[in-house]
């Protein structure tokens, strides 16, 4: 094979290096992705031949109340996995880096950071199982403690009642997610030039003013990354729902990914499950595109402003 750049001797094309990775990618990502779209246009119990039914699964989907509930719950997941952790994480990171790190020591702040980050590196299904026991209405640690304090009225069926299941799952997700923004924001703060703060301090700016006028604009790129990756994770969340509530009670904690799983496996409605998965994919890609467009626009604006 010939090459474009002048060479001492002929060499294998760079394309050859893409062969193993490319072939696997086609077989494991591209082919299944296309097959899934095809399945979404069929009625198929997973055995025998799929029957082509066009867009019927999609029209059925948009009339399905469970589908809409699952997407409403996705918004709850975004609150629990993006909004709350980003805001809390920003505050924690600023205090840990800016205050604890300086008034005490870097070791204290990085030790505390490790504690907040720990749930992030653990298998989420396992911590979910631990939580589902803690929240168990009869034997769970929370209710046993509440009852021993005489607060029987507060010992609710946390994951088993439609009033409390979603808030309980959301609380667990905040606990799982909080460490990620803390770690990212703490490293972002290291980039910020300390002279900016010193100058502002000399001007008499208080901590909060400095935070708003210097910290927030400086760490914008990381804020975009954190909110984008967490939003995608929130839209895809499956493991915690599976081990905590299985989407119940009465679909009050069902999410699109679990709804798709229910149709694929327990219900054997493969075509319908595939349609849910396809809609979820479209939403994820649209959200990502919107984020990236917004980010490029804000970067451009900033470049023009200077």
């Amino acid at each position: 094979m010939s090459t474009t750049t002048p060479k001492i001797r002929p060499d294998v094309s760079y394309w050859a290096y893409l062969i193993p990775g490319g072939a696997l990618f086609l077989a494991i990502i591209v082919l299944p992705f296309v097959m899934n779209i095809y399945f979404s246009l069929t009625r198929w119990p997973g055995l025998g031949d799929p029957t082509f039914i066009g867009l019927e699964n999609y029209t059925r989907l948009f009339q399905d109340a469970v589908f809409w509930t699952s997407f409403r719950n996705s918004i709850a997941m975004i609150v629990a996995m993006v909004v709350v952790p980003t805001l809390l994480g920003l505050l924690l990171a600023a205090v840990l880096f800016d205050y604890i790190g300086k008034k005490f020591s870097g070791q204290v702040s990085s030790g505390l950071r490790a504690v907040y980050y720990l749930p992030q590196i653990l298998p989420v299904a396992v911590v979910g199982i631990l939580w589902s026991w803690i929240l168990n209405p009869q034997t769970g640690a929370l209710n046993v403690v509440l009852r021993s304090l005489g607060l029987d009225a507060l010992a609710l069926n946390w994951l088993g009642s439609t009033d409390t299941a979603l808030p309980s799952v959301m609380t667990v997700m905040v606990w799982v997610q909080i460490g990620y923004p803390v770690v990212i924001f703490m490293s972002a703060l290291q980039r910020v030039d300390p002279e900016l703060y010193e100058a502002a301090e000399l001007d008499g700016a208080g901590w909060f003013t400095r935070f708003r006028a210097i910290t927030l604009p400086q760490i914008k790129p990381e804020t975009f990354v954190v909110t984008l990756t967490c939003t995608i994770a929130a839209l895809k969340v499956f493991g915690p729902i599976y081990v905590l509530t299985r989407g119940g009670p009465e679909n009050s904690t069902n999410v699109p990914s679990y709804f798709a799983y229910q149709n694929f496996f327990p219900k054997s409605q493969v075509g319908y499950g595939a349609a849910i998965a396809t809609v979820l994919t479209v939403i994820v890609l649209v959200v990502a595109a919107v984020f990236i467009v917004l980010q490029t626009r804000s970067e451009k604006k900033e470049a023009e402003g200077r």
């Binding site: 992705f33 008034k103 046993v144 972002a188």
Partner: protein, 294 residues
Amino acid sequence: MTVATVPQTKSPTFTANRDRHKRGAMRWVILGIIVLGAVVMMIPFVIMLLNSFKSPQEYSNSGPLTFPTEFYTQGLTNFWTRVNYPEKLLNSIIISSTVAVAATLISLLNAYALGVGRVRGKAWLVGVFMLANMIPQESLVYPLYFIAKQVGLYNSIWSVVIIFTVIQSAFGTYLLASVLGTFPPALLEAARLDGASRWTILWRVVYPITRPTLSVLMIFFFIWTWNEFFIPLVMLIDNSSQTIPVALAALQGDRLMDVPTINAGSLISLLPAVIFFLIFQRTLTRGITSGAVK
């Protein structure tokens, strides 16, 4: 980075002194709040430790917050034998380490062609790998399950190994392509003039220099694969092929799962990840942060 230069006009001495006094007490209050938050974060783990080795009778008598009076190991042995813990541990280790090595290797080969080779359509291909990271596994899982059944890999750990090698290497390719895109051209040129082939340059020049990045990638691939739940749950039906999280989840709701069994089971299921975290804590925090800015 632009630095704002502010004329130092005000004399800071007086206000700064008063400020420092006020902060003397304040700093402990703020530390207290942050430590309290950290304690809240640790509560589930503390409860797990307290109740892993406490007998069911003692649990119902004195609750979850006391130290166990006797060292009760029945819960641990119960879980250990029921899930055949060593087997699950071995499955998890084989899957995660094979994926970590294979996915890093494929990422390096792909990224070499894209970042150093700059093959035509490079930007396009990198975009495709990036998109692949965002696709929900739900939109791949049924076809993968179907294909695995056809080729006889259903219920085998190798189906999970292959799938995650590809999924992780999509991310690795995306990240490494941009790292290798900035590889010093002088080094490549010098090697070329010495008559080194592309294959030799990859292993003698590019590989040694990018090794730190590759090791961070490998550690991440290991942990991510270790923690995966959805695809292993679908693919690994048989007890003997399951990973630790899937095996634990399979026992959920079982009547024989009493309080010490659940807690001790969670404890030894979390332990490998905690050990891994402690060993690689520094590399990990450095890794996620460098990945974030990219």
